[in-house]
């Protein structure tokens, strides 16, 4: 982290919870009586959000929905900082592993991430899922869409549309990982937690 960072609150804990509830309703509306509906979160915060959505969906529908996690480390397009787009040294942390403990073939998968930005993470996650089978559909749910897409990718469920300037950063913090729930807009500082 470098320099002074300005933070502007976008969502608080209550708003996050309400938004997720709304998104759960939308998912059920769009997939009525779908027996092969499943939820897959993208490491790290997407997976926590996916867990919460899964719980909400279970409450609403009374059905247990299969849940998985996907780690995109081995599918990134910027490995060795040579990807299309911004060329820079990006961090490559310890891989947490992909866990998809259900049949992928013909599944309807709701892929969950915290912030939608360039779309590259989603592209990588879709590639990763396809190495496990051929799903019937993949839908995309994100808590925040900050714009600036670099690939033809569009979310099916959006918690909040948040138009941003390029140098700004959207940071999602979750209790499970960061000790509190909030979404903030940062001006300055290092680009992190977005893709």
């Amino acid at each position: 982290m470098s320099g002074h960072v300005d933070e502007v609150a976008i969502m608080d804990a209550e708003q996050i919870t309400r938004t997720l509830t709304r998104m759960a309703h939308e998912i059920l509306e769009k997939n009525p009586c779908e027996p092969s509906l499943s939820i897959v979160g993208i490491h790290t915060r997407g997976a926590f959000l996916a867990r919460r959505l899964r719980d909400q969906l279970a409450d609403l529908s009374g059905v247990d929905i299969p849940f998985g996690e996907v780690d995109i480390s081995f599918y990134r397009d910027d490995i060795g900082a040579r990807g299309i787009g911004d060329i820079r040294e990006t961090p490559h942390p310890v891989v947490k592993g992909t866990d998809l403990p259900f049949e992928i073939d013909d599944a309807v998968i709701v892929l969950v991430d915290d912030v939608l930005y360039t779309g590259r993470t989603i592209r990588a996650a879709v590639d990763a899922i396809f190495d496990f089978g051929r799903p019937a559909k993949i839908q995309l749910a994100v808590l925040v869409d900050r714009g600036h897409r670099e690939l033809p990718i569009r979310p099916d469920y959006v918690g909040k549309n948040m138009p941003t300037a390029l140098p700004e950063h959207v940071r999602v913090r979750l209790i499970e990982h960061d000790g509190r729930d909030e979404v903030v807009l940062e001006r300055g500082g290092r680009e992190e937690g977005e893709a």
């Binding site: 490491h43 780690d71 081995f74 490995i79 060795g80 490559h92 310890v94 190495d131």
Partner: protein
């Protein structure tokens, strides 16, 4: 971007080693899948240049590269310009003209990989140089130990038995085992024990009487050329097998046996022990694949950024 070479275990910190082994672990599920391949190194070129015979190391690296979707080409000594007297420098300059990302290299002379790294912008991975270093063997051995005994190897006792003098595996392993806090004892005939090797902080024994106290017995291959007339490292394989060979009577239950391969049945290891499911020899071969995938991956993406959780 600075180039990362893996030339010697001395180039790696404990953090680097842990990161490589953690990464190797994360590749294991991929190797269990139907599609055992990830696009990670798609479009990358990996050249293997083996100036010395090798089957398992070169095929293990080749498969690791393919599992990561890299393009691979292999240059072997026989039939190549090397046989026609091309110098190491010229070979490396020629290979570099293909703009490889990584050169995996084996050479009969110590330090050859370090020298090669000076002549190429590609990352150089040492797959064995002279009798000096074989860092990827050491890393896969550590991975095998970790998968068998858990992450904490501190205080464990390992005895390396055999021809220490001519073994690059022993030299890399001593460094790696000590890095993990293991106690290393070298065992072998005095003719095959380097003078002053104790300076590395290892114990030296010339017979197997203390072998029972070891948690792990690591056997080295006895090479037949050591028996050539005039070499006089050993009078005969028969005598070696009798004095230093490992058979059932010399292994205590629970003791694990490792060997970098290829094994000489009936020389350093009895067939019975070689086939015992308790030995880790096949685990080492398996570990070679995921460990070398991790090494290739880390060579491209780097070691130092493990602290960051964000991606």
């Amino acid at each position: 971007m600075t180039k990362r070479d893996l030339l010697s275990m001395d180039d790696l910190t404990r953090t680097d080693v842990d990161l490589i082994l953690d990464t190797a672990e994360s590749f294991l599920p991929i190797l269990q899948r139907d599609i055992k391949k990830v696009p990670t190194l798609r479009g990358r070129t990996i050249v293997s240049y083996f100036h010395e015979a090798s089957t398992r190391t070169s095929s293990s690296f080749d498969l690791a590269a393919k599992r990561l979707s890299a393009d691979t080409i292999a240059l072997k000594k026989s039939g190549s310009a090397i046989e026609k007297g091309e110098s190491l420098k010229d070979t490396i300059l020629t290979l570099s003209a293909y703009s490889p990302d990584i050169i995996v290299m084996r050479h009969p002379s110590a330090g050859a990989c370090r020298l090669a790294a000076r002549y190429t912008p590609a990352s150089v991975i040492n797959a064995g140089d002279g009798k000096y270093q074989h860092p990827t063997q050491c890393l896969l051995d550590l991975f095998t130990l970790r998968q068998t005994f858990g992450r904490d190897l501190d205080g464990m006792k390992i005895s390396i038995v055999g021809d220490i003098l001519h073994s690059r595996v022993a030299r890399s392993d001593i460094a790696g085992f000590q890095m993990m806090g293991m106690h290393v004892t070298l065992v072998g005939p005095p003719t095959m024990m380097p003078r002053d090797i104790e300076s590395l902080g290892v114990a030296v024994e010339h017979d197997l009487s203390h072998l029972r106290t070891a948690d792990v017995i690591y056997l080295l291959r006895i090479q037949r050329e050591r028996m050539q007339a005039g070499a006089n490292f050993l009078p005969s394989l028969r005598e070696y097998a009798r004095v230093w060979g490992i058979d059932r009577s010399r292994v205590r239950p629970g003791q694990k046996v490792m060997h970098p391969g290829p094994i000489n049945r009936g020389v350093e290891i009895s067939g019975e022990i070689a086939d015992d499911p308790d030995t880790l020899i096949l685990e080492q071969v398996e570990a070679g694949l995921s460990t070398r995938m991790a090494i290739l991956y880390r060579t491209i993406v780097g070691y130092s950024d493990s602290a960051s959780e964000e991606a």
